[in-house]
Symmetry: C2
Subunit: 441 residues, 2 copies
């Protein structure tokens, strides 16, 4: 409905409205089937259900209202994009569509088949003109975190303005120094849209808004994962809320996430869980789930497991660190603090990336999880190769781990479910054996 209402706007920004309407309809149906059928969902999820229906409707209208006032609208595919600067300028930063198999065939007219489905999907959305976010963006802010993206920008740039942020391979002091220059350059890009100098106060305000968003997500993460006996919200809902954080207005979103957290807090107190007792608690590691890629979560949570945390970029990696605004008295100091935050991101694109392994082991301990799934999108070399070192470390600690590589096609859903079921069975067996042993002693 949201889409219908905004049909003329969508047309104005170049959306192929008929095709778009059909895709949104399918997306909504899939959402209803996978989300609305869950039992005992928190009341506060209603907002996110509404947002789902207005994701490419009212939210697009809001973004284009900003644009009318010369505020920037920047599309991104990576959590390295400094949204603080965009929000500070009064604009909108959003993740572009890239989670659907429906655009991949089109993308493959220009891209190889054997690269990451996220990149292909996103490229296909531009070729099809079926993503209202892509169509609304002043430019796409690409980066060099993976080579398939790095090279795709050269092609995508023929269809839409793309600027590229140079994220280094390493985190030596000299690499970070260049990275900091990218932040200054990005600020200039933003100023070229608004036609105004962005002040320190504006950027600090933007940072504060994004910090608050991240704090709300950290709170949600704790509520999802830190109470051993209660899981007050499904992993799928948790993921969906996180996904929407890349699209929604940050102030409204933060408010709504906090309202959800208030409700979840009560649930924890009252021990209201959406899963049965003793449901195995799984952590998911690896690459991001862009909506509507809910395949793994659906497989796990319809097989007797619960996902309590995503270590992914659409997940913990995105919100784990905040920008410290103490003692920030000038632009250079602010940029340094932004850099401190962003360079703490433990993306597999860096070499070496050992802190990621330490973090994962600590997260696992803190969450008292029962196993992990290492998930990679197909052909994502960095996370795929790094899987060896991560799973080796997990094995050493006796942590059960299932490695899944998948794309967006529905074809492997059955196979994934079978593998997840077997994995959950082995976890349950271990839990029972441990309980039995404890009883014996």
């Amino acid at each position: 409905m949201g889409v219908q209402e905004h049909r003329s706007l969508l047309k104005d920004i170049g959306v192929d409205v008929d095709r778009h309407a059909k895709m949104m309809e399918m997306g909504l149906e899939s959402y209803k089937a996978q989300f609305m059928t869950q039992k005992n969902r928190p009341e506060a999820m209603k907002y996110f259900d509404w947002f789902m229906s207005e994701m490419q409707g009212q939210r697009i209208a809001e973004i284009n209202e900003l644009r009318k006032n010369k505020k920037p609208a920047i599309g991104a595919f990576c959590i390295f994009v400094p949204e603080e600067i965009i929000v500070g300028s009064g604009g909108a930063c959003f993740g572009l569509c890239g989670g659907s198999p429906a655009t991949i065939a089109d993308a493959e007219t220009e891209l190889p088949r054997n690269i990451c489905p996220l990149i292909k999907s996103a490229h296909g959305f531009k070729l099809q003109k079926t993503c209202a976010y892509t169509q609304s963006s002043d430019f796409i802010y690409g980066e060099t975190t993976c080579e398939a993206k790095k090279k795709t920008w050269e092609i995508l740039n023929k269809h839409h303005p793309v600027k590229v942020m140079n994220i280094p391979h390493m985190k030596r002091e000299k690499d970070l120094k260049l990275w900091k220059e990218e932040l200054f350059e990005f600020k200039e890009h933003i100023e070229s849209i608004t036609g105004e100098k962005l002040s320190l106060e504006q950027m600090k305000k933007g940072t504060k808004i994004v910090n608050e968003k991240r704090e709300a997500l950290q709170r949600l993460d704790r509520l999802r994962s830190m109470n051993k006996d209660v899981i007050p919200i499904s992993g799928k809902d948790g993921l969906f809320v996180t996904q929407m954080g890349f699209l929604d207005d940050p102030v409204r979103y933060t408010k709504k996430v906090n309202e959800l957290c208030d409700e979840l807090e009560k649930r924890v107190e009252e021990k209201i869980s959406v899963f049965e007792e003793d449901t195995p608690r799984l952590m998911v590691l690896g690459t991001p789930f862009a909506p509507p890629n809910w395949k793994l979560h659906t497989a796990v949570e319809t097989s007797g497991g619960a996902i309590v945390n995503e270590e992914s970029c659409i997940g913990h990696r995105y919100y784990k660190d905040n920008v410290n605004l103490d003692d920030v008295n000038n632009e250079d100091e602010l940029m340094q603090k932004l850099l401190d935050k962003y360079s703490a991101v433990d993306c597999a694109c860096f070499t070496p990336n050992a802190p990621r392994i330490d973090k994962i082991l600590q997260m696992y301990k803190d969450r008292q999880a029962n196993g992990v799934i290492y998930y990679t999108l197909s052909f994502c070399h960095t996370y795929n190769v790094e899987a060896h070192l991560v799973t080796q470390a997990l094995e050493k600690e006796g942590i059960p781990c299932l490695v899944i590589e998948s794309d967006y096609s529905p074809e492997d859903a059955g196979q994934i479910k079978t593998r997840v079921e077997a994995f959950l069975e082995s976890i349950n067996f271990k839990k029972e054996a441990a309980a039995f042993k404890k009883k014996q002693n």
Copy 2:
């Protein structure tokens, strides 16, 4: 035989001698079948036939003799490794084994299946201890040109010392500045092996030696490709000679390549071609062919085509530029000239990489070729994605182009041959049509 003779040395450097001997035997048989059966080979190929048999025998003995005298032996997988510095120090720089399917199953115990076969093969050689070059190397000098390699170094480093050169994503002035620092750092690594300061004169001498090697290869390239009516050497032999340039002693090698060129020059004068008249002349673009990966060349040259040039890293990209030693009066000036040469390499790892396309079009024109094959190793995202822009440019110029993606398995050899045959047929058809049209006018 060469291998048997040096059995105790191979054992000393940790080679699995039995397995190694078996592999070398198979490699030699394959070489005999694919190379020695060619008709009318130049006499001067005898040296390279001999080198093939001593590749992991006498050459390894020579390298280990250098090592006894504290000269560095550095293994590499990329033409960005500044061999001038190694040669200047009196040491040896060599490409490591990475062209065989025989080691891939072992590599896949630690690496994903869907990454480039070159990386897997090389990693497997280390796990199997069946590459005498790897075993002889003081350290492997890795780089960040592709993410699968970048991440594999972290794993390979557990089995063999690896140092990593940070090759930037872009070629802006500030990126090049950091790259230059990598050259200085590399020099320090070399000095830490010799225990001595490397002088400017030594480095200039090393550069001169490598310049002469590149000049000999440029000469070979011209003789192979620049005479429209005569192809005095097969593409397979041309490729093999180039491949050996990554292993042999550079001074001896240069001499032998020039002897070959003398013979080829005579052949050109006397119009002695190893192919029939009107054989379609193909250029190959893309990723390198590491020995014993001769699959594509064999397919083309047993199907009525000739390969006159490889644009690859084991090919034109390697030797196209020399280091200008004019006005080099201090170390900084030398490093700058080295950087100028290396940063002129148009690897698909860079973004943007437009000069590569201009170069390809010019090369095609200069060589009066009849078509190109864009060859990529499977899962090589950079060359694979860049193929779109390259083939688009070729199409615009009406240049026939066949895109082939392949790994090291023999399984697709038949399919490749069929596709090559069809491609050659279409080229012949076009040539005949053009000739007919010319006749009509």
